[in-house]
């Protein structure tokens, strides 16, 4: 075996140990990303090899928790890809307007910015009282931040610029108040968001959802897991329900391309097709 093949073996044994011991299933994550995260964790943990992590992962749950955090990337923004939000405002929300009540799901919400962005959008379009927003992630630390809705002030400039580009109707400053070097999102924005732990690789789905966001999460999965998760989404969307992916994600290699109709090709908004 060559060095890279030995390393691949070590990773596969580690992921198997994690799955059997704790139920977290990383076995169908994109191998390159996982390898990168594990290598970085290894460097910071001062162990000689990836396989040397296995005994400690098995016997020391707190060590595993550290590794788990190292495996999850929670990079996010308010109104990331502002023009996607603009497109939502113009094409998707008018459609939701025809429902007396509707449900939205942010799958892989990280620290919550995407869900708050949507809450703002719904308020501006007068739809907030009819919406329930589920925002889920498998990273409990990220969910804690999301629930608090407290963010560092240094990001606000960029969030405000994004908000303006997305077609925001007021001033972004209307939606938070400042405290020391942080901003706290307004309480009313939180009221319709339910933050919860949910693992896309292993958990099933709770109800019918009209609009699903799963942005920049599927890129971390291999094709098989992408397909499984997209099928899960398909199952909980009603016909004509909407799915929004990240701008560099697609259905192209998932085999589900024919089951959705593109609504916005550039910003990856899809609609579930009626069965012919």
């Amino acid at each position: 075996m060559k060095p890279h093949q030995i390393e691949a073996l070590e990773i596969s044994l580690l992921l198997e140990a994690i799955y059997q011991r704790y139920g977290y299933d990383f076995r169908n994550y994109a191998a390159a990303s996982i390898q990168r995260r594990i290598t970085r964790f290894l460097l910071s943990s001062d162990r000689p090899s990836i396989s040397a992590l296995i005994p400690e992962v098995i016997h020391d749950p707190s060590f595993f928790q550290q590794l788990l955090l190292g495996l999850s990337i929670t990079v996010t923004e308010m109104f990331r890809d502002p023009l996607m939000f603009k497109s939502l405002r113009e094409t998707v929300l008018p459609f939701l307007n025809s429902f007396p009540s509707f449900k939205i799901w942010h799958a892989g919400c990280a620290t919550g910015q995407e869900a708050y962005s949507l809450s703002i959008l719904l308020e501006e379009e007068g739809l907030n009282h009819r919406a329930t927003i589920y925002a889920t992630d498998f990273n409990d630390e990220a969910l804690d931040v999301a629930r608090k809705g407290i963010y560092e002030k240094e990001h606000i400039q960029q969030y405000s610029e994004n908000y303006v580009l997305s077609g925001g109707k007021r001033s972004f400053a209307d939606y938070y108040h400042e405290k020391y070097d942080a901003v706290i999102m307004r309480k009313s924005l939180k009221e319709r968001i339910i933050f919860a732990n949910h693992n896309l690789a292993t958990d099933s789905v709770f109800s019918e959802i009209h609009l699903i966001f799963c942005r920049n999460v599927l890129i971390y999965f291999d094709r098989e897991l992408q397909k499984k998760v997209l099928n899960l989404f398909w199952d909980c969307l009603p016909y004509n329900g909407f799915l929004c992916l990240g701008t560099r994600e697609s259905l192209a290699f998932s085999g589900l391309e024919d089951k959705f109709m593109p609504v916005d090709k550039k910003y990856k908004i899809f609609q579930k097709k009626e069965i012919q």
Binding site: K2, A32, S33, I219, G246, E249, S250, K266
Partner: protein
């Protein structure tokens, strides 16, 4: 003597566009080895950069897509604002991980994943550029047995990047663009 490879990865920043036009423009139309490129300055947004190259060189140029299988006789460009990685099964993946050396896409990330995916069947070339992204990537490629090449700093528009890799001691060959063209067309098999 020729050696067999699965891919050629290239990284650079300042001056890279000119260097690439010369390099890719001189490779034969049927050049089989897939070429995968991270450029800091010219990251590709909606295919404009690919169009730019397609008008000027004969090997087909595309923007790499998540989970797309890597094909021979093709040049791939990293899209903007995501890291581009190579999977051991010969497909691409993208990710949103933190910037590396202030860069996303990062050369380190591409090179490191390519080394892990292809081991000794990889060529990594660090070309003209103005920072140190790529140096750790070259180290990884070498660790996995790949072939590492730096553009001759004296011939590079900006010598900082190739110089840093050479000084770190991770580089197998130092070549001018003309020498690199000669090497790729005579010493490389797929």
């Amino acid at each position: 003597m020729t050696r067999r490879f699965k891919a050629l990865v290239i990284g650079g920043s300042y001056g890279l566009l000119t260097a690439l036009l010369k390099l890719l423009g001189s490779l034969p139309e049927g050049f089989q080895l897939p070429v995968i490129i991270v450029s800091h300055i010219h990251s590709s947004d909606c295919g404009e950069l690919a169009d730019f190259f397609n008008e000027r060189i004969s090997i087909p140029v595309k923007e790499a897509k998540d989970k797309e299988p890597i094909q021979s006789n093709t040049v791939y460009l990293a899209p903007s604002n995501y890291h581009l990685l190579i999977e051991p099964d010969g497909t691409f993946s993208l990710n949103m991980d933190e910037k590396v050396s202030y860069s996303r896409p990062s050369i380190d990330v591409l090179f490191q994943s390519a080394g892990f995916a292809f081991g000794d069947r990889l060529i990594a070339v660090l070309m003209t550029g103005s920072n140190h992204d790529g140096v750790n990537g070259v180290l990884s490629v070498k660790k996995y047995g790949g072939l590492t090449i730096a553009q001759d700093p004296d011939s590079a528009e900006c010598p900082v990047m190739p110089r840093a890799a050479i000084d770190a001691g991770y580089v197998d060959q130092v070549l001018t663009i003309d020498q690199l063209i000669g090497f790729l067309t005579t010493k490389v098999n797929t």
